[in-house]
Symmetry: C2
Subunit: 142 residues, 2 copies
């Protein structure tokens, strides 16, 4: 044990988080490719599917993303016809993102994606629950 051990990858929590996240996102790809969606587009759609209408600020808070990231993602989803973007009439600064019929139809095609990806995360059920709890504890504290 020398003083440089703190600089080793194995001794960190951030690196496995980063690596795990990337590897699992990669597992989504084949299933999302079929739907012509990227993971970020899929994340954004999940929120719009649930709320039917949401503004960019709310979406950013849910997804931990800012408008610099979301603007092109949402323009892309609009170009594909899954959402429409309209300024709020009561506050022109606010952009509302609403699901379209085509976007609603996509929801049914996406239903089996979670289950298919879940197969590659081989944790016991109680381990998944614990991981979920720990991640949300970290997120809640920052």
């Amino acid at each position: 044990m020398d003083k440089y051990d703190v600089l080793k990858l194995e001794n960190k929590i951030c690196f496995p988080l980063y690596a795990c996240s990337k590897e699992i996102v990669k597992r989504y790809r084949p299933y999302l490719d079929v739907l012509d969606l990227t993971y970020t587009q899929y994340l954004a759609l999940m929120v719009v599917w649930e709320k039917r209408e949401v503004n960019v600020k709310e979406l950013g808070e849910k997804l931990y993303l800012d408008s610099g990231t979301l603007t092109p993602v949402l323009k892309n989803l609009e170009a594909k016809g899954y959402v429409c973007r309209t300024r709020s009439t009561t506050d022109e600064r606010v952009l509302n993102v609403k699901i379209t019929d085509k976007g609603e139809a996509l929801k049914d095609k996406a239903l089996d994606v979670p289950q298919k990806v879940a197969g590659c995360v081989k944790l016991a059920p109680q381990e998944a629950v614990e991981l979920y709890r720990l991640l949300h504890k970290i997120l809640g504290n920052m």
Copy 2:
């Protein structure tokens, strides 16, 4: 509970992993800014600091990154004078990345980064150990 609940953010393990990873990486920024390093550059340097010399393939396996990502990162680190990149004499396909004196000097300046960032991950010690175990279990299975 309807059939669309599987498409909610809260019901997934991947999204909190993705969000947690990004939020913690963000916490590195102020400390890495001082060293003129990005998180990815810092990750790469950690491996080079530990092994002194490593080729791109080995580095990619350690970091779960491919040459498409690593090539520009390593060129950047070379431009800053922290590493040098030289082709192996026994196999011209292989590119060796070696720490320089300047890179070695940077190691000491980076020593307190982990501790400073650790403060924002407010987990009990045994929770951090468990999180570490779960993440490596997932990584080991994929």
